[in-house]
């Protein structure tokens, strides 16, 4: 996964398509492109896929009830749960089905959920139901007694977005897409023969076409090709994660009210914690993912309005992500369009729910590239399946025994909170998880209640061994984020 490209005078080859950004959207696009007979590459500045906005969302696969009428996002989100469910089988990743309950906490709010129903159905979604207080209680006994009515949507889901981004890039790579991590795009020039030269921190790439899926940095990429009309608007969304011991309190993704400063939401995560959100604040700093005390108080207050039994005591961690809007569409819609100067450079500017829309976006981008004259001929040998590795904690007893028989390291618990084994961690490292954070995201070692207090140094040792570097060179998240500042006595 960490293909070293030679830093060189000339080019590392000529590509048909290069995707910039390996978030959920870029990874989905790369995997979709890998069906075709092209030479393609996926480039990201982070050491691992999904480490931009993708890693810090609520991770929910929605229906179309949040999408205003006539929007592109409404079109792209339609049938998203079914698409994710199918992909989960192919890619061997977690997709947890969760139903939505959008609550009206007083009768004046009933109009909101009725409007949401109309909105969602307007895009073609089906299976919506408005239910009363009694039914709400049956479905979700711990919800506030104030709930008078709810929009009930079945068959949605939650995922772990970094796990998915990783699986998608692996599958793309299996099908010939080259992946380059730790590789920042610095500049883009137009060369002869309608080609582009992408200058990166690790050498130059020559390509016929480009997909700009750089998320929060898509504006900066656009400016490199003189598309100065691309402007993002940013706000920070803060969320909190609770200890698994209270997970029984909530089974649905529960929504309440929405405003400039919040989306009131409590839901299960793919791995069985509860997530609370979202408190918004203004920011103009793309790296601002800090959460302050006031933010936590706000999140907790919002959550307790929906489920009073939740408590601040159960928070194991909190984090924030930057949500990108844009000034080009006005109504909060996505902006997915070719450059003003050339049809073979596509900008993908998707805010929320960009995760949900990712499969739809990938299909759209492929069509746009084909319309731009890029030859896309299907490969016969496309391998649509990717194999993950077994999760010890989720396996049944017989399967656990089988795992240990095949590799005794599956019997060594490294992370006690999430019951992650050495076998899983070693496999993840072998397949490209080269930092503490990457290992944490794909194996969950360190994601539990003690937040790596116990397993951190064990994973550090496994990384050092797996990567063949001294432990003091192991990082938390690439760059100079060294865990230790040297060996003793240095």
């Amino acid at each position: 996964m960490n293909n070293e490209i030679p830093v060189q005078e000339g080019y590392s080859g000529e590509y048909d398509i290069i995707v910039i950004g390996a978030g959920i959207i870029g990874s989905m696009i790369a995997r979709e492109l890998s069906r075709f007979q092209i030479r393609g590459a996926l480039i990201d500045k982070e050491p691992f896929p999904g480490f931009g906005v993708t890693k810090s969302g609520m991770a929910q696969i929605h229906s179309t009830d949040f999408c205003p009428p006539g929007t592109l996002k409404g079109k792209l989100c339609l049938d998203a749960p079914a698409k994710f469910k199918r992909l989960a089988g192919l890619l061997d990743v977690t997709y947890r089905e969760v139903d939505e309950l959008w609550l009206a906490l007083e009768s004046s709010q009933i109009a909101n959920i009725e409007a949401a129903k109309e909105r969602g159905e307007g895009h073609g979604a089906t299976g919506y139901e408005i239910i009363g207080a009694e039914r709400i209680r049956e479905l979700e006994p711990h919800v506030t007694e104030k709930a008078v009515s709810a929009l009930y949507i079945r068959g949605l889901g939650v995922i772990h977005p970094t796990e998915w981004s990783f699986a998608l890039t692996e599958n793309a790579a299996q099908n010939g897409i080259e992946t380059y991590f730790n590789t920042s795009v610095l500049n883009i020039q137009k060369a002869e023969n309608r080609q582009y030269v992408i200058q990166t921190s690790r050498g130059a790439f020559k390509t016929k076409s480009i997909v700009n899926a750089a998320g929060l940095f898509a504006d900066e990429i656009a400016w490199m090709v003189q598309d100065h009309h691309i402007r993002l608007t940013l706000r920070k969304g803060s969320v909190a994660i609770l200890d698994k011991s209270v997970s029984h309190l909530v089974r649905h993704m529960i929504f309440g009210t929405f405003s400039e400063t919040h989306s009131q939401n409590v839901a299960p995560t793919a791995h069985g914690n509860l997530i609370l959100g979202i408190h918004y604040t203004k920011t103009d700093n793309k790296g601002d993912t800090s959460v302050d005390r006031e933010g936590i108080e706000k999140i907790m207050k919002l959550a307790r309005e929906l489920v009073p039994a939740l408590s601040k005591r159960d928070i194991i961690t909190s984090f924030a992500g930057i949500m990108a809007g844009n000034t080009m569409t006005g109504n909060g819609d996505f902006y997915i369009a070719p450059s003003e100067h050339a049809p073979d450079l596509i900008h993908v500017i998707a805010g929320a729910p960009g995760l949900t829309a990712a499969p739809g976006i990938a299909e759209l981008v492929v069509k746009m590239l084909s319309d731009a004259g890029i030859e896309l001929e299907e490969k016969k040998a496309f391998q649509e399946k990717r194999k993950g590795w077994p999760l010890f904690s989720a396996a049944l007893l017989d399967k656990q025994k089988e795992m240990i028989a095949s590799n005794p390291k599956f019997g060594h618990i490294v992370c006690r909170c999430e019951q992650v084994t050495e076998g899983e961690v070693t496999e993840a490292i072998h397949r490209g998880a080269g930092t503490l954070d990457a290992v944490k995201h794909v194996t969950r070692a360190g994601m539990g209640r003690c937040q790596g207090g116990f397993c951190g140094s064990i994973v550090l040792g496994l990384l050092s061994r797996g990567l063949g570097i001294p432990p003091q060179e192991v990082t938390k998240k690439g760059g100079r984020s060294f865990i230790a500042e040297g060996a003793m006595g240095e």
Binding site: R293, I315, T317, I404, G411, I413, G456, S457, G486
Partner: protein, 416 residues
């Protein structure tokens, strides 16, 4: 009824688990196994290479590893089966356990009695809501201790320590001795939360600045910690705006509390006492499930390893009585309740069968004070702090003199 595979299973080989094992074997319990998830026995002790252990138990000042080694040797001499690298994944309400390890795979045992001795974990950053970035260089004190003492790695060169728990203060000294600069130890309370002994020997003796009524307002640095903003707090622990100050550092250590690790306990259906953090027990450390005992830091966080070992021995006595179906209780149970000035009591109830050792903590620091055990006895102490456990013995005789209707003893304290 399923036949029991083990008379006694002990989960954890820290000082409480090992003491329970040694005592149990000395009492004649043969069919016993200690399960330890780590690759070495001793629990947290092997990384505590400072001295101060064993003053009561062995009448000499030992280091953590030395203290552990005494017990490990005793256990070995007695031929006790300590299964290492063995994590107990599940504990059933029926006292069955599921264990996994690399070399033995998965196995399950039905146990006649069990001693829970899993210890505790450190409170992490996530549960503290410290604002700021998420760089490398933030460690719990125990993590840093492990890094230095076991892995031979330096966590950083310039550190700020948040919290004045014992491990935090010990690490302040350790880092200083290793050539790092400890720029400050911050404590949100007006007094340190660990032992006075550690405050003097680890901070004052090394001229490490101790900032009481201070906390971290923000963490800075993108890849590695570059500094912290510290802030003063008022009497109600609210930050005082305008008192912020930046301290540059590459490391932030957290020593802000320990949490008993009771995930298995909860799995077995036992309720947790929110003031102690552990299950409710009687004077022989038996939980509300007969045959299931708990001791050491899983029960309540102790500041003296000697007490922890004693608790393990008591649990072994209890297990012995249960295994041999000896009359365990008679004469009515007495509830032991924290009253004014007292924040926690372990055990939370007792029988009238034997002397009872109470472990208490006061809510606030005090000068000379008296502890009242109901109306039956009182003891005077020169001083008391929340960070120090107070031990009071109620003699069996006093308990037996109580009337049958006396089913509660309230523990309270007053300054004198």
């Amino acid at each position: 009824m399923k036949k029991d595979d083990l008379d006694l299973a002990i989960i954890g080989s820290g000082p409480s688990g090992l003491a329970a094992a040694v005592k149990a074997r000395q009492k004649g319990i043969k069919n016993l196994v200690v399960f330890e998830r780590d690759e070495r026995p001793g629990g947290i002790l092997p990384q505590c290479i400072h001295s101060g252990f064993g003053l009561e138990k062995f009448k000499e000042e030992l280091t953590g590893p030395e203290y552990a080694n005494r017990y490990i040797k005793m256990a070995q001499d007695l031929g006790i089966d300590i299964q290492l690298d063995s994590t107990v994944l599940e504990l059933g309400k029926d006292r069955s356990i599921k264990v996994v390890s690399e070399n033995k795979g998965i196995r399950t045992y039905n146990c006649k009695t069990l001693v829970l001795a899993m210890g505790c974990r450190e409170r992490a950053r996530g549960s503290l809501d410290i604002p700021g970035t998420r760089p490398a260089g933030i460690f719990t004190a125990g993590q840093a201790q492990r890094l230095i003492n076991i892995e031979g790695l330096m966590p950083g060169k310039e550190a700020v320590i948040l919290g004045s728990g014992d491990i935090g203060m010990i690490m302040a000294r350790r880092l200083t001795l290793e050539g790092a600069q400890v720029k400050a130890v911050l404590e949100i309370l007006p007094y340190t939360s660990g032992l006075i002994r550690n405050e003097v020997q680890c901070l004052h003796d090394f001229n490490i600045p101790l900032l009481l009524e201070h906390t971290v307002a923000e963490i800075h640095g993108e890849y590695r910690v570059e500094g912290v903003t510290v802030i003063r707090v008022d009497q109600r622990r609210n930050p005082i705006p305008g008192s912020e100050r930046f301290i540059s550092c590459d490391t932030l250590l957290l020593s802000v509390g320990l949490i008993p690790e009771n995930e298995l306990t909860k799995m077995a259906g036992l309720a947790i006492d929110l003031s102690s953090g552990g299950p409710y027990v009687d004077e022989l450390m038996e939980t509300r499930t007969p045959g299931l005992f708990a001791c050491g830091n899983v029960l309540h966080v102790s500041d003296m390893v000697d007490n922890v070992s004693l608790e393990g021995e008591l649990a072994a006595e209890g297990a012995f009585l249960r295994i041999n179906d000896k009359g365990y209780v008679s004469g009515g149970i007495i509830d032991l309740k924290a009253d004014s000035g007292i924040s926690q009591v372990v055990p939370q109830r007792c029988t009238r069968e034997r002397d009872v050792w109470l472990n208490l903590r006061v809510r606030d620091p005090m000068g000379k004070m008296k502890i009242h055990v109901g109306d039956i006895m009182k003891t005077t102490f020169a001083s008391a702090r929340p960070g120090e456990m107070i031990r009071v013995k109620i003699p069996k005789k006093a308990l037996q003199e109580l009337g049958p209707a006396d089913t509660t003893l309230k523990l309270r304290c007053e300054e004198v």
